[in-house]
């Protein structure tokens, strides 16, 4: 049912999959995600809908391999099928014309940032995209973003692409250069935390899209809970986007580590090849 019609490797660890999912391609909006599962024994993981094609009835997912399930997705082939895809989940991004927007994405956050950046541009904003990662290999979608963004800046930890430095240097650079109305940031929790601290200093409204651990994605389990503005929220139904200045990133960071020991066992198994492919 959910057939892989196109597979493209974007970088060493990042793959783009175009999948048939007619209903979802029609109903999805920027900022929403799906939960996917591979095989009878697979786990459910959340992935942002990066793009969709109404005519072909497909959605695009961009996946960075970080562990067991993303690794399985990386290895999937054209013509294969994904057992389960449910969505679109979460609240769509509240996109409107605000003026100048910075979209700051780090590492795997670049993929989920893509549809949101595009939507802000389509709404008539001036869009400045900042992409950051550890090194050149992890910078993805640069060309795709250039197609619509007014400006794209690239930062790497090691200077192997763009400017050497962190995403925050880029954001601060722009803020000092011109008036910025809103910042949207997606990436590792630490990165979003520092972007939020920075923009708070300048009093610029900032949205962060949170990538917590999830199980059902429909509000049924509470695995995805975070503290926002002092109250507990479920990222899958109340988010995934929140006012970055109110998010308790330290708590979120800790919660992301909930299964590190088990994840390591599972990932080592798969790397050893004991359970390599997709059942």
């Amino acid at each position: 049912m959910y057939k892989i019609v196109q597979r493209e490797v974007l970088s060493k660890d990042v793959v783009k999959l175009v999948i048939t999912a007619e209903r979802i391609s029609k109903s999805r909006k920027a900022g929403q995600f799906v939960i996917v599962k591979l095989g009878e024994k697979g786990e459910r993981i959340p992935l942002t809908i990066a793009d969709s094609d109404l005519e072909k009835g497909t959605i695009t997912l961009i996946i960075q391999r970080v562990g067991l399930t993303s690794h399985k997705f990386f290895n999937i082939k054209e013509g294969d099928e994904v057992t389960d895809i449910v969505g679109p989940l979460g609240l769509p991004t509240h996109v409107k014309k605000l003026g100048t927007i910075i979209a700051a994405g780090g590492g795997v956050g670049i993929a989920p940032l893509y549809p949101i950046a595009k939507a802000f541009k389509e709404a008539g904003n001036k869009l400045i995209v900042i992409l950051a990662a550890r090194n050149k290999d992890l910078i993805i979608l640069e060309d795709e973003m250039r197609e619509f963004a007014d400006e794209v800046l690239v930062y790497t930890d090691d200077g192997s692409a763009g400017t050497k430095g962190l995403v925050t240097s880029g954001v601060e650079h722009i803020i000092n250069r011109e008036n910025v109305d809103e910042v949207v940031t997606i990436g590792p929790a630490v990165m979003m935390k520092f972007v939020a601290l920075l923009t708070k200093k300048y009093n610029i409204h900032t949205l962060a899209s949170l990538n917590t651990i999830m199980v059902d994605g429909t509000g049924m389990c509470g695995a995805c809970r975070v503290t926002v503005g002092g109250t507990t929220k479920f990222v899958c139904v109340d988010g995934p986007e929140f006012n970055a200045h109110e998010v308790d990133f330290d708590e979120m960071l800790l919660r992301l580590g909930a299964y590190v020991e088990q994840e390591k066992i599972a990932y080592e198994n798969v790397l050893k090849g004991s359970d390599g492919g997709v059942e």
């Binding site: 786990e43 199980v215 059902d216 509000g219 708590e251």
Partner: protein, 491 residues
């Protein structure tokens, strides 16, 4: 529902029933001893996920069926939310006609193998049994129900209800819990073109993601779904009505009416300090990982679960009992129930409490957590709790628990499961603002389970009642199907 005593009288006065009654005197029947369900030994079963109850034998069933006096006014039926013809199916067992026993049972209860396992018979039908009046244990109605359904299933010759000529009217069912499944079956019987949409990847609602294998084997659910498929019900998984497609989209595609059986899936937390620490789960998450995702077989299955040594489960209902017994099976040294009232007030089924105790579960009744303390990695390591005492009765008639001054203490825990209840998922309310809802987020319906503000929408089960029971959800489904039929025929 009201009992149709006239029909029952007719049944009861049939020739074979009279003969059967005359076979043994009431005095002889009263001599029988209530059957005892055979169970796996507590020390073995608390290490695996196999079903605890092993069922009763044909011989035991026949003896138990004989105990039933076939009363002229069977009060047991009035205790059953769907008014199963209880003496009717029990006398078929006594006669030895298991096929008919199943037919009688299924004419009012579409999922008897499930109800026989999870219904609180002790507060429904069995409490109304005449035996209670003479101080004897009631007829084991639940065990006989389970026996009848299992015998039919294992015979491989399940009777599939007759389906009327297709009328080509499309109806949509939202959610595959007991409410949705029942409605789907009833409407299929009437000839409707029924499609059932389920958000998760498996069908069954709480029966598959919540209630563990050791109480309700998933195989039973699978067979029930196959039967409904055979009756023509179309099953669509991974489909969230309101998100994957809107109600309006489905209307455009020709669906004429909807039944919402979306349950009460939103877990409640206590909102006390430290509750978001790692290894503090809602019961829903804990049970979903284990039951739906099979995390107890990790790493064969990909979904992980944290196996605690000292596990505290907060609450006293079926959800808490299922969670604590699961924790024990995952290898906990101490698996504890922390409940703020006393055992007398516990909402869980008696059998579950009894089984839990046998399996080595500790009950810390009249205790309540007030804070959790974590280690440097953000994992819970201690629970601060306080002792409670019971005061005046509250609205529910149960005595209100109140904290005892200065009774706070610390306890080492490495996993906490919060099982204090659930509320309706707010999605339906978000996408159908025109539906009238209560302050608790449940849908307001009339006697026919029809929305009071949108006539093409019907609802039942936990989305109408808040957290209730399987049998009530099924009863709602039955009423809803009838009134949907009425509505659709008069469009």
């Amino acid at each position: 529902m009201s009992v149709n005593y006239k029909e029952l009288k007719k049944d009861r006065s049939s020739e074979w029933r009279q003969e059967l009654r005359n076979l043994l005197s009431a005095k002889e029947r009263l001599k029988g001893v209530r059957v005892k369900m055979s169970e796996s030994s507590p020390d073995e079963r608390n290490k695996n996920f196999f079903e605890v109850n092993n069922g009763i034998t044909a011989e035991e069933a026949a003896l138990e069926a004989r105990r039933c006096l076939d009363c002229p006014t069977p009060t047991c039926i009035s205790g059953c939310p769907v008014n199963i013809n209880i003496p009717g199916f029990i006398k078929e067992i006594e006669k030895g006609d298991m096929k008919n026993a199943a037919i009688v049972l299924k004419s009012t209860n579409a999922l008897p193998a499930i109800c026989g396992r999870v219904c609180p018979q002790e507060t429904q039908c069995e409490i109304k049994c005449i035996y209670n009046k003479i101080g004897e244990p009631p007829v084991a109605i639940g065990n006989l129900e389970r026996y009848t359904a299992d015998t039919e299933r294992l015979s491989g010759e399940m009777s599939i209800p007759e389906v009327a000529e297709p009328n080509n009217i499309k109806v949509a069912i939202v959610g595959s819990g007991p409410a949705g499944l029942t409605t789907a079956g009833e409407l299929a019987k009437l000839g409707y073109d029924v499609t059932l949409f389920e958000a998760l990847h498996e069908f069954g609602g709480v029966l598959v993601y919540g209630i563990p294998e050791f109480r309700l084997p998933k195989e039973i659910m699978r067979v029930e779904i196959e039967n409904l498929e055979e009756m023509g019900v179309k099953f669509v998984n991974n489909f969230i009505v309101g998100r994957t497609a809107s109600f309006d989209d489905l209307k455009e595609e020709g669906f004429k009416a909807f039944f919402i059986g979306s349950g009460a899936g939103l877990p409640k937390f206590m909102n006390i300090p430290g509750e978001n620490l790692i290894n503090i789960f809602s019961s829903n998450e804990y049970l979903t990982r284990v039951n739906l995702m099979k995390a107890f077989k990790f790493p064969e299955y990909d979904t992980p679960i944290v196996k605690g040594k000292n596990v505290a489960v907060i609450g006293g209902g079926n959800t808490a009992m299922d969670s604590v017994r699961t924790a024990k099976r995952l290898g906990a040294d101490r698996a504890m129930i922390i409940y703020r009232r006393s055992e007398a007030e516990m909402p869980a089924r008696d059998e579950e409490i009894h089984h839990a105790k046998e399996e080595g579960i500790e009950f810390l009744n009249l205790n309540n957590p007030i804070e959790y303390i974590g280690d440097e990695k953000g994992k819970v390591k201690q629970m601060k709790a306080q002792k409670m005492e019971l005061g005046e009765p509250d609205d529910s008639g149960r005595r209100r628990p109140r904290p005892m001054q200065g009774s706070e203490y610390l306890m080492d825990v490495d996993v906490v499961v919060v099982g204090i209840g659930t509320a309706p998922n707010p999605l339906i309310q978000q996408v159908l603002p025109e539906l009238e809802m209560t302050a608790w987020g449940t849908i307001v319906v009339n006697d026919g389970m029809q929305s009071v503000t949108r006539p093409d929408i019907f609802a039942g089960g936990d989305i109408v009642r808040g957290g209730a029971t399987v049998i009530l959800a099924m009863g709602d489904g039955k009423i809803a199907a009838e009134s949907m039929h009425n509505y659709l025929q008069n469009l």
